[in-house]
């Protein structure tokens, strides 16, 4: 289909306007993060600060122990990442490459948990972890990842595994390989890009999680970046310059991870979308 020049120009112009609208909040964040308060009050507003106050970052990240928050977040994210990748690939393998009686019914039942609002399981889960003595620890945030790693991820990987011809497995089975070898030697290497997609989504979800840490963590010293940023807002309410510097520091790792893995992100979303 050939699109007329007029139509293309109209499309390009609309995209330019929309993109500007999407990018302005980032620019406003960045410029506010390197201004001092007096610059922020100037009317009409400056887009490029004169001079730059890069020391905002140092101040914002030291008045509150952001270093510790960063470390806590990394521990949680790493724990969740490993658990999710291992257990979701194993489960997806069992739901796609092995034909067993009742498989699809079990899968459908497990999938139904995606419809369940988190609020329903929230309170009993909290009471359970508290009774076990794990309130104010990282365990409630990490351990569930080792039990399946989320149905969304299993679904996504299963979609991918089903697109790989079954012949490989059968040949390997005839040669005397067992299912673990097929999983490890054939499926995992062939599904590297899907695994990266799962890892990227998991990284972001865990990094961005707010409600989990809010409920399970109590001591400041165990806070994550998301909680820390919220705490920072509480104490430095009107200090927009510092608040924006701290926000930039929380946003930056996500943006970097996204830009590095962009190709996989777009593939991954496409994979989840209705191709099954």
């Amino acid at each position: 289909m050939r699109e007329s020049r007029l139509k293309l120009t109209a499309g390009f112009t609309s995209l330019l306007i929309v993109s500007a609208m999407f990018i302005v909040p980032f620019l406003w964040l960045l410029r506010s993060s390197v201004m001092d308060l007096s610059q922020i009050f100037i009317m009409p507003p400056q887009w490029i600060p004169k001079p730059f106050h890069f020391e905002n970052f140092k101040e914002a990240l030291t008045v509150v122990p952001f270093g510790a928050f960063f470390k806590n977040t990394l521990i949680i994210v790493a724990g969740v990442l490993i658990g999710t990748v291992v257990s979701s690939t194993i489960a997806a393998f069992g739901f796609s490459r092995i034909k067993w009686k009742g498989r699809d019914m079990v899968f459908a039942i497990l999938m139904s948990s995606m419809m369940l609002p988190g609020a329903v399981t929230l309170i009993p889960s909290f009471i359970g972890w508290k009774e076990l003595g794990f309130y104010d620890t990282f365990y409630p945030l990490i351990v569930p990842a080792y039990f399946g790693g989320g149905m969304f991820n299993i679904f996504l990987l299963r979609q991918f595994y089903m697109s790989i011809p079954q012949d490989f497995d059968e040949a390997a089975l005839v040669d005397g390989a067992n299912y673990f070898q097929i999983y490890w030697r054939i499926l995992l290497p062939l599904s590297r890009s899907a695994v990266i997609v799962v890892a990227l989504f998991t990284f972001l979800a865990s990094w961005n999680d707010f409600m989990g840490p809010l409920i399970y963590l109590k001591s400041d010293s165990r806070f994550t970046l998301a909680l820390g940023l919220q705490m920072f807002q509480g104490s430095y309410n009107a200090q927009w310059d510092l608040l924006m510097a701290a926000s930039t520091a929380v946003v930056l790792p996500c943006v970097l991870v996204f830009l590095l893995g962009q190709r996989f992100f777009l593939e991954g979303i496409t994979l989840t979308g209705l191709k099954g």
């Binding site: 289909m1 699109e3 139509k7 293309l8 499309g11 995209l15 929309v18 993109s19 999407f22 990018i23 302005v24 980032f26 406003w28 964040l29 506010s32 489960a91 069992g94 739901f95 067993w100 079990v106 497990l110 948990s113 419809m115 369940l116 609002p117 609020a119 329903v120 399981t121 929230l122 309170i123 009993p124 889960s125 909290f126 009471i127 359970g128 039990f147 399946g148 790693g149 299993i154 299912y179 961005n208 409600m211 409920i215 998301a226 940023l229 919220q230 807002q233 927009w240 924006m244 926000s247 929380v250 946003v251 943006v255 996204f258 777009l266 979303i269 496409t270 979308g273 209705l274 191709k275």
Partner: protein, 315 residues
């Protein structure tokens, strides 16, 4: 005789072999999926049942005794004794009704734009997707700042254009539309799913309309929209489910204010359970939410038969 006995035997061994294989497959299938099945039981099914039971008690972390009170929590909810319940329900419905069509319509048209063969398409796609990966806490900080009534960029822009400014998140009437606006920044994921749907529409269909002399509107009306109904359906369900459960934004942007005008249901539930420690009552709230989401999902599913077209399906 011998021959027939032999064939009978081999059939028997073959059957034995296949049941042995089946049993092996069942064993390994369950072994591989057991962490996920256990996870479902421990983290979904168990808590679900526990939550249903809790909703029939007056469980409170700080009280020594818990008693079974039957449907009292639900009676308290629906009798109007707790006016915040209806208030938070109304607020959340208002938010859902405002947000879902906005998300679907805007991301649909953005996807159509991104599907055009324009210069810099990949860059536009990146820019539109990027905000959706920003942590909700950080995005909320940015929007608190953009919507600051005195120093925020939005009001500056409005007054520069000689338009009336707004109190945004601090106005009783403007708070919900403002929160909807902040969440629209993150619609990139929905756009990309629409884009994937669009790439599956055969180009020849459009050419047929070209031959018939139809314009862009008849392409949209007769090809794009019907072909994309499964994607619209999927995105609508996901957006409804997500919108009912908004929490982080509510917590950070407004804490339910001003004057409880943005008291979202899940925020109210959190406050009841974790600040007021009324966990039995909050469990009843959770079940009401669950049933509402179920009703909505079933409604969309039921109506889908009349408007969702699957390719290759007989009409």
């Amino acid at each position: 005789m011998e021959i027939s006995a032999n064939t009978g035997n081999s059939v028997k061994t073959a059957a034995k072999k296949s049941t042995k294989r089946e049993r092996k497959a069942l064993f390994y299938g369950l072994l591989f999926t057991s962490p996920a099945i256990l996870g479902f039981i421990i983290y979904t099914l168990g808590p679900m049942i526990a939550s249903l039971y809790l909703s029939l008690t007056d469980y409170n972390v700080f009280k020594d005794t818990t008693s079974f009170i039957g449907l009292d929590n639900y009676i308290k909810l629906f009798s109007g004794e707790d006016d915040l319940f209806y208030k938070s329900l109304g607020t959340t419905f208002y938010f859902v009704i405002l947000r879902v069509p906005a998300v679907i319509i805007i991301s649909f048209f953005l996807a159509i734009l991104l599907n055009m063969n324009v210069k810099g398409r990949a860059i536009f796609r990146t820019i539109i997707y990027l905000p959706s990966i920003v942590p909700a806490v950080a995005a909320s900080m940015i929007w608190l700042w953009l919507m600051n009534p005195d120093l925020g960029l939005l009001n500056m822009a409005l007054s520069w254009l000689h338009l009336p400014t707004s109190n945004w998140l601090f106005g009783e009437g403007s708070v919900i539309p403002s929160i909807v606006l902040t969440t629209l920044w993150g619609i990139g994921g929905t756009v990309i799913i629409f884009l994937a749907g669009l790439s599956g529409v055969p180009k020849s269909y459009y050419e047929a309309i070209d031959v018939d002399g139809g314009g862009w509107y008849s392409k949209l009306r007769h090809i794009t929209i019907p072909m994309l109904t499964p994607t619209i359906f999927f995105n609508t369900i996901m957006t409804i489910i997500g919108s009912f459960q908004v929490f982080s934004e509510a917590y950070i942007l407004t804490q339910g204010g001003p004057n409880n005008k943005s008291l979202f249901f899940v925020f109210y539930l959190w406050r009841t359970a974790f600040r007021d420690t009324e966990m039995g009552y909050a469990s009843a709230l959770a079940w009401v939410l669950f049933i509402i989401i179920m009703i909505f999902t079933v409604l969309v599913f039921k109506t889908s038969k009349s408007w969702v077209h699957y390719e290759g399906e007989k009409q």
